[in-house]
């Protein structure tokens, strides 16, 4: 697997951290691209991925439920419950293609996404 941290990423200021619900997610628009951001308060971690679910091409992932599979953080699409790892982007219950995941950092109360 490619290590996304080695690529030089461009950080985008997305949203105030408190605007993302605890243990939940929101969709944001960055340069016309729909991105889902998730706040895993239980674990103190943040994740981001494409908002598009590859299953039926629905712009939906931000509206799904977050959680984990054996400790691996994941998002379950609200449409047909396909789950994707927020670490690798791999589909966890099917052979669907991977989704894009993006690095996230919090600086001065703001969420930044690396594209």
């Amino acid at each position: 697997m490619e290590n996304i941290n080695n690529k030089s990423v461009e950080w985008h200021k997305a949203i105030k951290a408190i605007e993302v619900p605890e243990n939940g997610g929101v969709a944001v628009l960055i340069e016309g691209k729909q991105i889902a951001i998730f706040n895993f308060t239980v674990k103190g971690e943040w994740y981001a991925c494409q908002n598009l679910c590859p299953h039926k091409q629905e712009m939906a992932l931000a509206r799904g439920l977050i959680g984990d599979l054996n400790g691996e953080p994941k998002i379950a699409c609200p449409f047909h419950k396909k789950s994707f790892s927020l670490e690798s982007g791999a589909c966890l219950n099917d052979d669907l293609c991977n989704i894009d995941v993006y690095p996230v950092k919090i600086e001065e109360d703001f969420v930044y996404i690396g594209l």
Binding site: A14, I15, E19, V20, P21, E22, N23, G24, V26, A27, V28, L29, I30, Q34, I37, F40, T41, V42, K43, K56, Q57, E58, M59, A60, R63, G64, L65, I66, G67, D68, L69, N70, G71, P73, K74, A76, P78, F79, K81, S83, D95, L96, C97
Partner: protein, 829 residues
């Protein structure tokens, strides 16, 4: 140097062969190349009909395209192999490219057999074998009203059901005296015939077709007796023939009725060339089901590995996929073994036919037929396959297990080499090993690790039984836990939440669970919190399923639907106008639902609060169409207007709907009230149904529509309205407290020990001493009811969550509509 192995055909057998090669580690000895003539990568032909009903081709792929790449298997699609040069060890493709091989495997499958009927080449005549065939049918059917399927076998019935479900008036034509002649006897077929007939399928048997009528296009079919019927489309499903044309051209020996002749090790009459799957003539016949094909693939891989495995034929038992009636046949279904004794159960009332054939000495089960109820298929199949000695009263095998009677066979009694999943050839031993040694504890885990249950899925109940039995034997607690995050059943969590006064999910997770939760436990806990504390579910937005999160059902394209409550289906003309006005203003698609109310579709998430605000201002409230909660209580017009009405069913329906509105439960709840036995409200198809009698009401419970319809059963008769409500309170609370997640009342009652008699004892005789508490708890629910939408509309903080993007006021530009009959719908993908 690695040897080159070419597989001709990329169908189900070919891909199974590749998988087994990978598993066997043979890819370091062979370079694998697969050449297939279809444009698609290998897909699940067994579930081809799913493609017709809307499943994506991608979802039917047997392995993802990436899998071939990951394993360095070269694949050529959309190109036919036209020639084998067996002396120079090459194959030539239709694009004239030539490849050299050391080993050649033919997995060319079969083609639909088309009898030489006059006029068979007209437009509108199709076969049913590939995705391409089905895409043609799907397109052509749009312009058709009537359809004919020629051939009343397994496949023909499947095809006929598919086009019938598409709204086409369908007829099956079978040359033989009865349907499914290979699997069923005359009696069994007559049961099936009747059942399918009731569902609207026309069936003509014992007839011969003279020709297809029409100029260029099909318009009908004429029989040899001169009669004819009209049709716009014909699907031929008269059997299959092995695709042996390539083998014939190459001079390999084939059978008199087709099929490439192979020996026990799958080798053709020419060394180095093998044939597997439906194209092969193996152990004296060709094989038209996927299980034997897979076994051939496995045998060949073993042989290539140098092992001595043989294909000697296999069992052809089948349980039919959904065709409108359960049908299964196994072993010697027709009882042709000398001395076989048939035992038959015919129940014209429940429309169940069962036949088992017992060996002459009464010791063994030889085979059998099940029509109308195939729930015992797996057990009977295991008894037959494993030659289990029968009890002294073998007729007990005929009574249904699920009804308590019958001969019960513990899965643990089976031999280790008993095959549980025939599609994948997975034995009991292999499954037990996964549970005992690899620590697998779920059916999903077993599917992943052993592949059992991933084919037709028929064995899944047995796999589940086996899992439970093995875990139990190991002394492990086998209670059904919610998911990996909580080691409790729903009922236990219910008690914990209540006794420990837990009010939030994070609190429960911290105290009683582990990890970060998931899409299974979160909505479940949300439902428990709502059932127990009756707080607005929006308070727990982050653990709700999307429908509950946004208080609307999510639609294709990502918009939501709006269903205001219209209790009992009664609505004033003024209120109708309001809905009309609001629908028009926001350009919403408008439809009367099956639940006697009105659904407005196509609202963007940011529009929801605004629209609801207007509706609430006009006196509407949430209809909870999105929740696992009370939906509707349907009513018939009743005694106020109807000349047969005994009581005022509308008033009673409204009263009940308003009483239980907002009540959260393990699954959705529906009710109905009919004013007399004519039952125009279809109350017996509901979770609770009330029907007027001349003395009061009859209360029925645990009915269900949906995919497994069940009629509600009588709980109490001739009761007055107050008693009826009292019993309903008790019944509903008992259900809410004890049902497993996502279990409708019908499934819950079916699994309730003691069944309806016990339920009567709890509800009417108060055998648990809980009745008063149930009533109190229900009253608390009723008293604390609030319209969820009102809460949101009036709360700016909650309202702010209804937007497409957290960092922008733009709306989602990916949402697009197209017109349909003066309204709109989401753009088809």
């Amino acid at each position: 140097m690695k040897k080159k192995l070419i597989v001709v055909g990329n169908g189900m057998t070919a891909v199974k062969f590749c998988q087994k090669m990978v598993e066997a580690g043979l890819l370091n000895q062979f370079d694998l190349m697969v050449i297939g003539e279809e444009p698609h990568y290998a897909y699940d032909r067994v579930h081809l009909t799913d493609y017709y009903t809307g499943t994506d081709v991608l979802d039917l792929h047997l392995v993802p395209i990436q899998w071939y790449k990951d394993n360095q298997i070269e694949v050529i699609t959309h190109t036919k192999v036209t020639l084998i040069d067996k002396h120079n060890l090459t194959v030539e493709l239709e694009d004239k490219s030539i490849f050299k091989y050391d080993t050649l495997v033919l997995a060319t499958g079969s083609a639909a057999f088309v009898p030489p009927i006059e006029g068979k080449d007209k437009d509108g005549v199709f076969v049913y074998r590939t995705i391409y065939d089905l895409s043609l049918i799907k397109e052509y059917v749009k312009g058709a009203k009537k359809g004919v399927v020629i051939g009343g076998g397994l496949l023909g019935l499947e095809a006929a059901k598919a086009i019938m479900d598409d709204g086409i008036e369908s007829t099956i034509i079978e040359r033989n005296p009865w349907l499914m002649g290979r699997q069923l006897d005359k009696q069994g077929a007559s049961f099936l015939h009747k059942k399918l007939g009731e569902q609207g399928l026309n069936i003509i048997t014992d007839t011969n077709i003279a020709r297809v009528l029409g100029d260029d296009k099909v318009t009908g079919i004429e029989f040899i007796d001169g009669t004819s019927i009209e049709t716009d489309i014909i699907v031929i499903s008269s059997g299959i023939k092995a695709r042996d044309e390539l083998a014939i051209k190459a001079g390999l020996e084939v059978g008199k009725f087709g099929g490439i002749l192979v020996d026990e090790g799958m080798q053709t009459t020419y060394p180095g060339i093998y044939a597997i799957g439906e194209c092969a003539l193996a152990a004296g016949m060709t094989w038209g089901l996927v299980a034997p094909c897979y076994e051939m693939a496995e045998v060949l891989v073993e042989r290539l590995k140098g092992e001595d495995r043989s294909f000697l034929g296999t069992d052809m038992s089948t349980k039919l996929k959904l065709i409108g009636s359960e049908v299964a046949s196994f072993g010697d279904a027709l009882g042709s073994t000398p001395g076989a004794i048939p035992l038959v159960l015919e129940n014209r009332f429940t429309q169940v036919y069962k036949r088992i054939n017992i060996s002459e000495d009464g010791k063994y089960l030889l085979g059998g037929i099940l029509v109308g109820d195939a729930s015992d298929y797996n057990t009977l199949l295991q008894i037959y396959k494993n030659k289990i000695v029968l009890p002294a009263n073998p007729e007990s095998l005929l009574s249904t297990q699920s009804q308590g009677g019958g001969f019960s066979l513990s899965v643990l009694d089976l031999a280790d080499d008993a095959v549980i999943c025939s599609c994948e050839g997975v034995t009991k031993g292999k499954i037990c090993n996964a549970i005992e040694n690899d620590g697998v504890t779920t059916v999903a885990g077993l599917k992943k690790c052993t592949k059992a249950g991933t084919g037709c899925g028929g064995c899944v109940p047995m796999v589940d039984d086996l899992l439970t039995a093995v875990l139990k034997k190991q002394g492990k607690d086998v209670k059904k836990v919610v998911c990996e995050h909580f080691a409790y059943s729903r009922q236990e969590l219910f008690d914990i939440v209540k006794l420990e006064e837990i009010k939030t999910y994070p609190d429960l997770l911290a105290k009683k669970g582990h990890g970060m939760g998931c899409e299974i436990c979160k909505p479940l806990v949300a439902s428990l919190l709502a059932s127990i504390w009756n707080e607005p579910i929006v308070k727990h937005q982050q653990i709700q399923d999307t429908n509950d999160k946004f208080l609307g059902n999510i639609q294709r394209g990502g918009t939501y639907s709006i269903v205001p409550r219209i209790a009992g289906g009664e609505i004033t003309p003024q209120k109708l106008e309001v809905i009309g006005r609001i629908g028009k203003k926001y350009d919403l698609y408008c439809k009367i639902t099956g639940g006697q109310r009105i659904d407005l579709f196509g609202a963007r998430v940011d529009q929801l609060p605004e629209i609801w605000e207007e509706l609430i201002d006009e006196g509407f409230e949430s209809g909870h169409a999105y929740g696992k909660s009370l939906r509707t209580v349907k009513s018939c017009v009743g005694s106020t207007w109807c000349r047969f009405g005994l009581h005022d069913s509308v008033s009673f329906a409204i009263q009940i709907e308003n009483r239980y509105k907002g009540l959260r439960s393990p699954h959705k709840l529906k009710g109905g009230v009919s004013g007399c036995v004519r039952e125009c409200a279809e109350a017996k198809g509901k979770d609770f149904g009330i029907i007027a009698t001349d003395k009061g009401w009859n209360l029925y419970v645990s009915g269900n529509g949906g995919s497994n319809p069940v009629h509600a059963v009588l709980l109490a008769s001739d009761i007055d309205s107050d008693t009826c409500i009292k019993y309903l309170d008790r019944f509903l609370m008992f259900y809410i407290k004890t049902a497993a997640p996502l279990t409708r009342t019908s499934k819950w009652l079916a699994g309730l020990e003691g069944g309806i008699e016990y339920l009567k004892d709890v509800v009417i005789n108060d055998c648990l001493g809980m009745a008063e508490q149930f009533e109190k708890e229900m009253q608390f629910q009723v008293d604390t009811y609030k319209c969820e939408w009102k809460e949101v509309v009036n709360n700016p903080e909650l309202r702010a969550k209804f937007k497409a993007f957290a960092n922008s006021d733009q709306t989602d530009s990916s949402i697009k509509f197209v017109p349909i009959r003066d309204q709109k719908m989401p753009t088809p993908c």
